[in-house]
Symmetry: none
Amino acid sequence: MTDCNTTIIPPAIILDHPQLGENIGAAARVMHNFGLLDLRLVAPRDPWPNKAANAMAAGALNIIEQAVIYPTMAEACADLQYLFVTSARPRDMQKKVYTPDQSKEKITTLHQQNSRYGFIFGPERTGVDNEVIALADAIISINVNPEYKSLNLAQTVAILCYEWSQLELLENTHKNADHVIAPKAMQLGLFEHLEEELDKRNFYSVYEKKGRIIRNLRTMLTRAELTEQEIKTLRGIIRCLCEHEPR
Amino acid sequence: MTDCNTTIIPPAIILDHPQLGENIGAAARVMHNFGLLDLRLVAPRDPWPNKAANAMAAGALNIIEQAVIYPTMAEACADLQYLFVTSARPRDMQKKVYTPDQSKEKITTLHQQNSRYGFIFGPERTGVDNEVIALADAIISINVNPEYKSLNLAQTVAILCYEWSQLELLENTHKNADHVIAPKAMQLGLFEHLEEELDKRNFYSVYEKKGRIIRNLRTMLTRAELTEQEIKTLRGIIRCLCEHEPR
């Protein structure tokens, strides 16, 4: 998992509103099996610490003890630069969709850029909602039996951790290594800035569709993998368009 | 799960002396997720049927109901032609050892020969014993963190079923076919619209290097691979920000 130049930092595993402590524990266990350390929980249903999670974690209690709880997804991913979300393919969003195997090339590039990234897993019953998908950069979709698609949360984590461990990180690709994607907190700052200015101007005139417009906007802007400098430029543009009268 | 010449018969999943009903149920669930059907249990610890197994199987009760119990491993694998056993690499036995990925070539050959084969998984606490390893044709060994090797039984089944499903999924992999990038003329229309509005507001005098700003803007917007609809949305946003006073 290392090459001569860089230290490989494994991805964060982010469980969004997890319901069952058993699944959190099993996720921690398999993370440890494959050398992942950074477990983040967004608003777990049950109080934390969680006995069922501890019991299932077996020898991976260190992962459970170091896990961090966040009230919102935005806070959980603020320091990360790229997010994969595990989900079925969405119908109405233009988002990159990888199989776990196909994601490896992108992950190799992220490592070359020293970018921090995470895998998001949705709640057991419902999966991730569209707002979380909009925030992510790409979807990882595991091809399953169309007659029984419902994968267990911890087993999905197992498959992704396993596939991650299979990466040949030494492999060289010809990607641009100095493209550093801005942290999610900066990306969110841009989205909210733009959305607010639009709101002030009644852009969301058909009010019901506001959520969808915002999701689509975030989706297309996320796809651009903006750098910090680019986000500064875009925010400058928004200010310019909003604050200055044309000559 | 088929190709033009043969019907692919998925492998049998053979749990050797399984202890926890939860693991049997979770194994059944993930088998169904990946299109495997044939679950065999060698002398499970608890009576069968098993409530905990049923609960964990969720929508895969059919697998549980069709599972067959055998008193010995020899009987459980009597009709099969080739056996893989999941285990760490044994010290004192000359046995072929594959990673899950390396096993694919052998499995492809087995399918071409219409051979029936199975994957054996040992008991939770101890793993398979040497007699069972001796009976198997090859070992499948998952590379794990040397500091924490103990994989959960059902997660090991998940990884093997997942890897098996990858064998023929290359053709089934859905392409991101409905993302159609807008023609360059439309992209340019967007760029020029934005650049003109910025020019009217002296954006470039502030930042000096107009040519470079335009290049950078076009670079980041091009990277988003915008669709026609997204370009229409972005042009609507530019008009909104330019023409409307905030409320």
